[in-house]
């Protein structure tokens, strides 16, 4: 299974670590493009990672000739703790997949998945026009 990541995801240094219930676990290394204040991952990079994880989980639900355009409607990110100088992982969960709307969640963590650095929920429009 190949998962195509868009230019923005590659700019963040993202790669697919493994699959989890069909959803890619994305890996973001600690490198200059994601650094915010010294020693910490930028909140915007974490938000971008969470959105990419959520989108990738949704994208993985479509196969064959079914390739709808996926348009973000909104996202809400909660930041729980500072993300430090090490790699961050994130995975998305498709909470509900309708014909036109998908409800998604995503979680990002570093050493301990039970201690997330940030989580997000998203609504995405599924556009088949």
């Amino acid at each position: 299974m190949s998962i195509a990541l868009p230019p923005y995801a590659l700019s963040l240094g993202l790669s697919v670590d493994r699959l989890e219930d069909g959803a890619p676990v994305l890996l973001m290394p600690f490198a200059p493009p994601v650094v915010g204040r010294p020693g910490f991952v930028h909140g915007g990079a974490l938000g971008g990672l969470l959105e990419m994880a959520a989108f990738s989980a949704l994208r993985a639900r479509f196969s064959g000739d079914d390739h709808p355009r996926l348009k973000p409607i909104n996202v809400s990110v909660e930041y729980m703790r500072g993300a430090r100088e090490r790699e961050t992982r994130a995975v998305g969960i498709v909470t509900r997949l309708g014909n036109r709307i998908a409800n998604l969640e995503a979680i990002a963590w570093q050493d301990d998945r039970a201690r997330p650095v940030a989580t997000a929920w998203m609504n995405v429009l599924i556009d088949r026009d």
């Binding site: 868009p6 230019p7 923005y8 995801a9 590659l10 700019s11 963040l12 200059p32 493009p33 994601v34 650094v35 915010g36 930028h42 909140g43 915007g44 990079a45 938000g47 971008g48 990672l49 959105e51 990419m52 355009r69 348009k71 973000p72 409607i73 909104n74 996202v75 809400s76 990110v77 909660e78 930041y79 500072g82």
Partner: protein
Amino acid sequence: MAQTEWPTFDPARFIEALAGRHHSGLLDLRYERHGTDWVELSIPYAAHLVGDPESGVLASGPILAMMDMATSMAIWVKGGRFRPQATLDLRVDYLRPAAPGNRVIGHGECYRVTRSVGFVRGQAHDGDPDDPVAHVVGTFMFMDSMA
């Protein structure tokens, strides 16, 4: 814990100091202007920030990151000083895709500051402020007011 006295906050110099470095460098984040309780930043259109190669539309992440910065800095201009703070939450409504090729301008405003929390809101547009691409609301927690 004694409160640290932070220097007067200058948003243009703050962005200048980050220029070309770290996440701000990836976005090529630029200072536009500011008022007593707001800051405007911008990101030029760039192929490496695209989220959908078919349409060439920018990913939503760079807009989220710019609005995180613009709203965060709005708290510092309102207070007149830099203070260490952390984003608690940030909600973004993506009203429409930004037009490929256009730079995106982010206007962040701080509308309330309490002892521990700064409340912010803002909008992003790609040329016409009356036709925004995104609307945001968020909160920041001050790290120097923690017991």
